[in-house]
Every structure is written in structure tokens, then in C-alpha cells.
Amino acid sequence: MSRVVSFVRQPIVVALVLIVLLLYLGEALSPGFATGGQILRLLIVASLLGIVAAGQNVVILGGREGIDLSVGGVVSLSAIIAGNVMNGADGGILPAVAACLAAGAFFGLLNGLGVTLLRIPPLVMTLGMLGVLQGLLVVIRMGIPSGQAAPALSRFVTQPLAYGIPGIIWLWIVIGILLALMLNRTVFGHRIYAIGSNEHAAYMAGVPVKLVRIALFMTSGMFAATAGLCLLGYSGTSFANVGEQYMLPSIIAVVFGGTSLAGGKGGYTGTMAGAVLLVILQSILTTINIEESGRQMVFGATLLLLMMFYGRGRAMRA
């Protein structure tokens, strides 16, 4: 019996059950909500959030109040870089991918250096970096047009690639498998959990703590850059601050996936379910015909309600 209870209380099971319930609710509220094509569309949106959340996830796993608020800025920057490098031509995709990943890695590196060498708390460092990135966006935007997605990139994100499923969802699945393998089967993955649960012990055991942490922030930057690239494919052109909408939701997806913000506990599979859950919830709210104010109040209250299922802190004990 207790085994059943502990299985049911696993965050990923909670998320999956909630996803199914929400799909039923959506179908009941507006027939056609849970059809195959609609669900694929939801998954495309979820994959964008999920890819950002992948980077957020590893940074949080690494502990020491790990968090990356700069992801929103990197997503926007990457979208505009990609749009200009490819500028509507398929031949420009590879250079664009290289440029975006390099930019993401660069800002991740700066974050990582600030957090490790100067020991600036991640929240402060990435908050400051967000301001720098937003300023940089203004500079770029004044100088050059916003650019356009290459047709092949748009097809990759919005059209079926294989077995009727768009390329971006395949990409997300591959990222999910690779991250799960990395976290569970590689030395690097074990080191992440090690520094996340007890940094001092990890250091004593010979883990290069600073290098691992820098790598985590670079990973986060590169995932955010990937999401920015895909976002460009999704919308065709880049808008000002498109990435901002991913900043805090990426953290919520991680929390809904059962990863503790304290670090060292959790994984990416749950986060994927968390991202899907969050996107379905938002989508249901847009299908209901209510005022924007009511929609936001219901969304905020539902988020609080859902959080009750996840990682509540322990009660104080003497």
C-alpha cells in the first residue's frame, strides 16, 4: 500500500495525472480541444518552454541557490541573431545555429564566472546579466532589422517531420533522452548532483566544483539560445523581448517537475511533464471566454493550488 502511495506521490505521476485531467476539462469546456492536431500544437509550444527549462533545470540541480534569470534575455537575443544571420535563406541555418549557441555559451560563461570566481549569488548575477542583455537588444534592434526565419527552420518547427510529428518535438524528445542519460549515467551528471546536494563534500571528493558550475551556466545559455532559434522558426520573425515570457515560467516548469529549488534532487523527465502541464493550463484559459483580468486571476490561483502538490518545505521541528 505504501508503495502505491509513494508511486502516486511522485511529482511526475502527479503531473501526468493532472495533464490528463486538464485535457478532459479542456475537451469538456471547448470540444475539439484534445484532438490530435490540437495536442501537437500544444506540444510545440511546450517544447519551446521545455528547452528553456532544460537549462534552468541543470542550473537549479547544481544547488547553491542556483537559478538563471537571464534565460529570457538570451532567448530574445538568440532569436534576433538567428533572424539576421539566416535572413530567410536555408543556407544560413547552420551559421545561425553556430552563432546562437556561441552567444548563449558566452553569456552563460560570464554568469558562471561571476557566480564561481566572485561568488556572486546566481539570482543577483543573472538578474544583472538580464539587464545587460535587454540593453544589448535595444542596441541591436536600433541598428538592424529583426530578420526572418529560413523556410526550412519554420517547417522544422511547425510542420510534421516524421510519423506526423514536427521536428521540434523530436528535438525535445532527443534532448530529454540525452539529458536523462547525462544526469544518470555520466560522471558529469553525478557531479551535478554531488555539488547540488553537498558542495563541500563534493569538493573534498575531488569534484572540480567551479568548472562544473560554469559548465551548468553555459549549458543553460545554450539551451536558451536553442529555444530562441526555434522560437524564430515558430513566429517567422523576432519581436522585442519575446524571451521574457519564458523567464519565470521555466522555473515553474522545473518546480512542477519535482526538482527542488534547493538543488541536488530531481531530474529532467519531470520538468518536461511540468512544461506540458503549464502550457495546457494556459491554453485552457485562453479557450474560456472570460476577460483578461479573470484569466490571470484564475491562472495565478491555479498555479498556487498546483504548487500544493509539489515539494512543499518541511515543517519546523525542534
Binding site: E65, I67, L69, G114, L118, R119, I120, P121, L123, V124, M125, L127, G128, M129, L130, G131, V132, L133, Q134, G135, L136, V138, V139, M142, G143, L248, I251, I252, V255, L261, E291, E292, S293, G294, R295, Q296, M297, V298, F299, G300, A301, L303, L304, M307, M308, G311, R312, G313, R314, A315, M316, A318
Partner: protein
């Protein structure tokens, strides 16, 4: 941070270390002074009483929001909904003042209700974070969405004007002295009195080491809730100032200010991990942000580069704030 705040250190430190230990907001004060000088250097007019009054009336709201944030940060918490509370109180008082005719009685009644609203929002935050034990960052983000929705319900689009009586008073003079200076003076006295209260000591104790505070018999949950309530009240005061400055209601006015309030607290040298900090530092931190913006403007930075230079300067002083704070605590 267990070894830091409440335990006095008898280790001999250098002159600077001792000074920092006594006046932890000193680096922020130096930065503010330097920025004022820079401002004066690039544009002598920016140091006139008139210009300083303008600066103060624009940034008074951020100063109050930073102070609001400080009380939750004391306890090791954070409030990402402070800006949303500001927006909600802003639209609520503007709509109420207009509905009640805009006279003195209407203004005071609306302000009283604004304070109650801020208190209620803070109470909600405190309950979900401390009593329900949800994680502060995500829980207050969720409440910020709720509060923003409520603000949009009260006033769907920006634009309802505040009564002239209200913004004329805020932007005007009393016995020849600009009104904002009275606000600043009252604020300094209020904060000085607050810093001697048992509540602030308890907040710092909880932030320093929650487990130890609990074992000493402190009501940890109640204390954290009170911290959020204080934050809600000061966010409401910040809303009064922004209403006086913009003279209108805007349901989204505070959204961007939340992260600035966190930045101001860090600039002031307080530790985000809790247990250590000063409200005066946060006040200076908020002024720093305002002064950076004005220096960048007066330096003649090309307009498209202004945001970038501001962002970079804020990142650098943030780092300086953290490093100085750590130096003071060691």
C-alpha cells in the same frame, strides 16, 4: 550565513573592515556620492534643488518598494509580487478617489483602503510562503499574476487621472520646501524607529538561521508572515508615490519595478540569503539606480546605447554591493 550576523566578532580588522561592520551601507553611500558628482560634472544643472526634487519624486516609489523588499529579504525570503501589489494599490486608489469625487475626504479614505489592500496582499503572500511552505520565488510569482489580474479587473486600461488635489500636493511645496523632502524625512524617522523594534530583530534572526530561531522559541511562521505584511504595506506606500508622480492609474505600472527593488536591496549590501542587511542601504540602492539612469543620460550616451550602459553599470555595482557586503560580514 550562520556565523555572520548576530555573533559579534572580536577579531581585529582593519580600519575599513571595522567601518563597514558598523555602517554596512557605506559603499552604497560612496557610490551615491560619486554618482551625484558625476551628474554635476556632466550637467551642473542636475545638482540644483529643482533637479534633485525631480529625481526624488520620480524614484521615491522605487525607494519605498526597495524598503518593502528589504523586510522580506531580512528573513531570507523574497517577494516577486511587490510590483504587482504596487500596481493594484495604484489603480484601486485612483478609481476610488475618482468615484468619491476627489475631495480631501475621498483622498484620505482611498489611501486608507489602499493601505488595507497592501496589507491584505502581504498577508496572502505570507500565508502561502510561510504557512503553506511553498517556495517563495515561485509562490510570489503566482500571487503576482493573481494581483495583476485583480488590478486589470479594477482598471482594464491605463489612464484614469488622479485628482488634482493629490498630485499637486505630492509635486508641490509646503512652507517653501518640496513635499517629497517631507516624505523622505518621515520615511527616515519611520525606518529608524522600525529598526529598533523587536519584529525587525526577529526577522533578522529567522533569516540568519531559521532552525536556531525556531529552537530558541521564536514564532518563525508568524514572523515571516509579518515580514510579508510589512512588505505589502510599504508597497502600498510606494503606490501612493507613483500615483503622485504619474498622476494616473496604470494596472501594469509596477511590473518592471519588482526586479529593480531586488537589485536595490543587493546594491545596499544586504544579503539575499537573509539575516543581514540595512534598510538605509536599500534606500541608497534605489537612489543609485535612479542616478545611474540620469548620469547615463547626461553623459550624452547615444539613445540606443543608454539601456545597455545602464544595465552594465547596474551589473557592476551589484557585484560591488555583494563583495562589499561580504567584506563587512567577514
Amino acid at each position: 550565513m550562520a556565523e555572520t550576523a548576530t555573533v559579534p566578532t572580536y577579531r581585529r580588522t582593519g580600519g575599513i573592515g571595522r567601518l563597514l561592520e558598523r555602517y554596512p551601507f557605506l559603499p552604497a553611500l560612496v557610490i551615491v556620492a560619486a554618482l551625484l558628482l558625476l551628474n554635476g560634472f556632466f550637467s551642473p544643472n542636475s545638482l540644483t534643488l529643482r533637479a534633485l526634487t525631480g529625481l526624488l519624486s520620480t524614484y521615491m516609489a522605487l525607494i519605498l518598494l526597495a524598503i518593502a523588499q528589504t523586510y522580506v529579504v531580512y528573513a531570507g525570503d523574497i517577494d516577486l509580487s511587490a510590483g504587482a501589489i504596487l500596481s493594484l494599490v495604484n489603480v484601486a486608489i485612483v478609481v476610488l478617489m475618482e468615484r468619491w469625487g476627489g475631495g480631501a475626504g475621498a483622498v484620505f479614505l482611498a489611501l486608507a483602503i489602499g493601505l488595507l489592500l497592501g496589507l491584505a496582499c502581504g498577508l496572502v503572500n505570507g500565508l502561502v510562503v510561510a504557512a503553506l511552505r511553498l517556495q517563495a520565488i515561485v509562490a510570489t510569482f503566482a500571487t503576482s499574476i493573481f494581483f495583476t489580474g485583480f488590478a486589470l479587473y479594477v482598471l482594464p486600461v491605463a489612464g484614469t487621472p488622479a485628482p488634482a488635489l493629490f498630485w499637486r500636493t505630492y509635486g508641490g511645496r509646503l512652507f517653501g520646501v518640496p513635499f517629497v523632502f517631507y516624505i523622505l524625512a518621515a520615511l527616515v524617522i519611520l525606518v529608524a524607529v522600525m529598526s529598533r523594534t523587536r519584529l525587525v530583530t526577529q526577522l533578522l534572526a529567522v533569516g540568519d538561521d531559521q532552525q536556531a530561531a525556531y529552537q530558541t522559541g521564536l514564532p518563525v511562521i508568524t514572523t515571516r508572515i509579518k515580514g510579508y505584511v510589512l512588505c505589502g504595506l510599504f508597497s502600498a506606500l510606494a503606490a501612493f508615490c507613483i500615483t503622485g508622480d504619474t498622476a494616473s492609474g496604470d494596472p501594469l505600472v509596477g511590473g518592471k519595478m519588482t526586479l529593480y527593488s531586488v537589485a536595490a536591496v543587493v546594491l545596499g549590501g544586504s544579503a539575499l540569503s537573509g539575516g543581514w542587511g540595512t534598510v538605509v542601504g536599500s534606500l541608497l540602492g534605489a537612489l543609485t539606480i535612479g542616478l545611474i539612469n540620469s548620469v547615463v543620460f547626461f553623459m550624452g550616451t547615444p539613445s540606443e546605447w543608454q539601456n545597455f550602459v545602464q544595465g552594465l553599470a547596474i551589473l557592476l555595482v551589484l557585484m560591488a554591493g555583494v563583495l562589499a557586503g561580504r567584506r563587512a560580514r567577514s
